[in-house]
């Protein structure tokens, strides 16, 4: 099946396309694709008005994450009443860590709303009397200025109402748009509204609702207690947490998503932001279909899908192998150090023909079983100054330097600004080359200025080093990184060991 055949859609089949997307059946149509490469479109909002609502008004079923309301199952436009309550409440963001969330419906993300294209949605936004803030709502599925925000600004203890016709099918983010918008969103004020195409979505066995968000707390990651919102981190876009469904552990432990092998699973995944874009991935699965950006078309066989801040996507996959599938933002430090991690657990019989599990763990002897001999020889040199030339001392000193000094002063001698003075092109060393063995053997404390920067840390005495080792390290440093050169002998090191200077630091 070629791509051009797959996308060949008869012009009269516009409505059929709405049902089936890039239907494989279309590929059986006569091959006139060479002249008809453009995808037929759905007509968007121009074709989304199916007339006035019919029948009695319907109360929308709202669900808390990770649950999704059942399909509307309607074949006609209706008036759908949505009643959403804004609640400001303290909830755990991680174990032992609390945060003051602002929510739509008492959860982060907010309640999932499901309507049908062409429905007229009568939206009631209530703000709890004990709220501190006024709030409103901008639904990305609304056609009209502000997406509803201009008509829903709601003071604490008030309720507002507005109506809109859902003209475009798709999965849409909604969020609070009250200033400061970023802060309202960062506190959890977002959710998803699904506008089903007129004939609904293909049925699946399990549907789940997951939404990513980034959070900015005054304390560090997992710092216990009630944590406040940190505006500076938010502006710098340095989140403390990146989370699915508003809390670490919201989709792990006893809250994992579940499915059985043989089932089709559909995820409705949104990204509230306020800042980060998500590289959404399920470890061990391949998305059979992704309705990227929450739109009408799908892509097939996708590993990772990008979900922009303020965007969403639907993805579907068939479960073959039982076990745990980990949902992550594949920007991985977010997953493992900031919390963006959830688990989908599949039950059912093993299928070893698809995935065997560990079959062998045997001894593997590569072709480089041991450190090379040159390096061993270098190490050998390092213990002796004997008759060594300066070059040999330098080589020996380098190995020793790497094994001990480099953890603070860095392998390139650059040190760490303000903490560990540089040894590279050091005016301190240039002014007194013998300071090297002296500081190595006796340590150093008190303020020093090196290359114009002040330092006041403690270097412990390295008296565990032999005189040979001190001489070789010193000689290496003197002859490296733009330092003046020269050498320190074993005898000099021994002499310096005996004389403790005034600024020596304490030993152990």
């Amino acid at each position: 099946m070629t791509a051009s055949m797959r996308y060949l859609i008869p012009m009269l089949a516009v409505m059929a396309l709405l049902l089936s997307g890039c239907d494989r059946d279309a590929a059986t149509a006569p091959d006139t694709a060479t002249t008809a490469r453009t995808d037929a479109d759905t007509g968007g909002s121009r074709k989304g008005d199916f007339g006035p609502p019919q029948g009695k008004p319907v109360e929308a079923v709202l669900t808390s994450p990770p649950h999704v309301p059942p399909p509307t199952g309607r074949d006609h436009p209706a008036k759908v009443v949505v009643e959403l309550e804004v609640v400001e409440k303290v909830m755990p963001i991680s174990e032992g860590v609390d945060y003051t969330f602002w929510t739509f419906g008492g959860t982060v993300p907010g309640s999932f709303i499901r309507v049908r294209q062409g429905d007229t949605v009568e939206f009631h936004l209530r703000n709890m009397p004990d709220s501190k803030m006024p709030h409103n709502i901008d639904l990305h599925g609304v056609t009209g200025p502000g997406g509803g925000a201009t008509s829903s600004f709601t003071a604490p203890g008030h309720v507002t109402r507005f109506s809109f016709k859902a003209l475009n099918a798709g999965l849409y983010v909604y969020h609070c748009a009250t200033a400061p918008v970023g802060m309202h969103v960062a506190n959890g004020m977002y959710g998803l509204i699904l506008v089903e195409p007129p004939d609904g979505l293909p049925p699946v066995d399990k549907e789940y609702y997951v939404m990513q968000g980034d959070f900015y707390t005054t304390g560090k990651y997992r710092e216990k207690g009630l944590q406040g919102f940190d505006m500076e981190k938010a502006i710098d876009e340095h989140p403390t947490y990146v989370l699915f469904n508003g809390a670490e552990g919201s989709l792990t432990g006893d809250k994992v998503l579940t499915a059985n092998t043989g089932e089709n699973v559909r995820l409705y995944v949104g990204n509230g932001g306020p800042n980060l874009v998500s590289s959404f991935h399920v470890i061990g699965e391949i998305f059979d279909k992704v309705w990227y950006e929450g739109g009408t078309k799908y892509q097939e066989n996708v590993q990772t899908t990008l979900i922009p801040s303020g965007g969403a996507a639907m993805m579907e996959f068939h479960m073959e192998v039982p076990g745990s599938y980990v949902l992550v933002d594949h920007s991985l430090f977010r997953a493992f150090n900031k919390g963006a991690l959830g688990i989908l657990q599949a039950s059912g019989p093993e299928d070893k023909s698809i995935y065997s599990g560990l079959e062998v763990d045997a001894v593997y002897i590569g072709d480089r079983a041991q450190a090379n001999m040159e390096a061993v020889a270098t190490a050998a040199e390092s213990a002796s100054t004997g008759d060594l030339t300066v070059e040999q001392q330098v080589k020996a000193g380098e190995a020793l330097f790497l094994g001990t000094c480099s953890t603070c002063h860095q392998a390139n001698g650059a040190g760490m600004e303000g903490v560990f003075p540089p040894l590279a092109k050091s005016d301190y060393i240039a002014a007194d080359p013998k300071s090297l063995p002296r500081v190595i053997l006796h340590g150093l404390q008190g303020p020093v200025t090196v290359n114009g920067t002040d330092y006041n840390s403690i270097m412990p005495p390295m008296s565990q080093l032999t005189d040979d080792e001190v001489a070789n390290i010193s000689t290496y440093v003197l002859n490296s990184w733009g330092n003046p050169g020269g050498r320190v002998t074993k005898a000099e090191a021994a002499e310096i060991r005996k004389a403790k200077p005034a600024n020596a630091s304490a030993g152990h």
Partner: protein
């Protein structure tokens, strides 16, 4: 030239045998926040006072042990106690060759390390003892929250392991007077096999994973502490007969 140097070196190392077999530092007991989160022991772990070798056991020391206990020679050891690479970096079953006497011994199995300590009237340290001792830097007994110190430890992990190991005892002692807990080799612990970090640590919080259930279950509580995370991951990848080119040990003892 190299062989001359090697000879000179052997002499130098013989002299610099600082801290022999019995050189232990005493550590006070205490309450300690482990980086590992034990399901069966919430909060801090409590440690009794113990003594720990100031530096890892060296090739030279292990050679003496092997000579005194020939059943631990690499050509005589029971195959269930040590894999084929056991002491393979030595020139012969009782001969170091290019391996330096003062370098930490590596390519030792957990069984061999345990036997060595037992022969000294000691034992391997527990993970918590090791972690407690290794939390110290040169001046503080618990430097773990210091990002600079963490970076220093991580610098070792980011260096390739293709060069020869420095001698044991080269680095500055920590606040307890113990050397080389970081920056030299991995070290066996007595209870390493209970460090059940999942083979795929991305499965954190998975209820269905047997390795996360039961008394020994644990997970990383301090995920910033990559230095510890990598130690645990390394140890949990091994079986007791396994050896590696970067894995050694030191012994510990109870204190009265």
């Amino acid at each position: 030239m190299t062989s001359t140097l090697a000879l000179t070196l052997a002499a130098a190392f013989a002299v610099s045998g600082i801290g022999g077999n019995g050189d232990y530092a005493s550590l006070p007991g205490g309450s300690f926040r482990s980086a590992l989160d034990y399901e069966d022991v919430p909060g801090n772990v409590t440690l009794a006072p113990f003594a720990m070798m100031k530096r890892p056991v060296t090739n030279g020391e292990f050679l003496e042990f092997v000579k005194a206990n020939p059943q631990w020679r690499r050509d005589r050891v029971a195959t269930v106690m040590a894999e084929p690479r056991y002491l393979s970096h030595w020139a012969g079953p009782a001969e170091l060759g290019e391996a330096r006497a003062a370098q930490p011994v590596v390519q030792v199995s957990w069984f061999a390390a345990s036997a060595y300590c037992e022969a000294q009237g000691a034992r391997l340290p527990t993970w918590n003892e090791w972690e407690y001792a290794a939390a110290a830097d040169e001046t503080r007994r618990d430097a773990r929250r210091d990002p600079v110190w963490r970076e220093r430890i991580l610098a070792w992990y980011s260096r390739p392991s293709d060069s020869a190991l420095p001698r044991a005892g080269l680095q500055t002692p920590n606040a307890y007077g113990i050397q080389d807990l970081h920056g030299l080799v991995w070290e066996w612990t007595d209870d390493y096999s209970s460090l059940l970090v999942d083979a795929d640590n991305r499965n954190q919080g998975d209820p269905d994973n047997a390795r996360f259930c039961g008394a020994g279950a644990l997970s990383m509580d301090d995920r910033d502490n990559y230095a510890v995370l990598m130690r645990v991951a390394m140890l949990s990848s091994l079986d007791a007969p396994d050896t590696t080119a970067n894995l050694g040990f030191r012994c510990a003892r109870d204190l009265p």
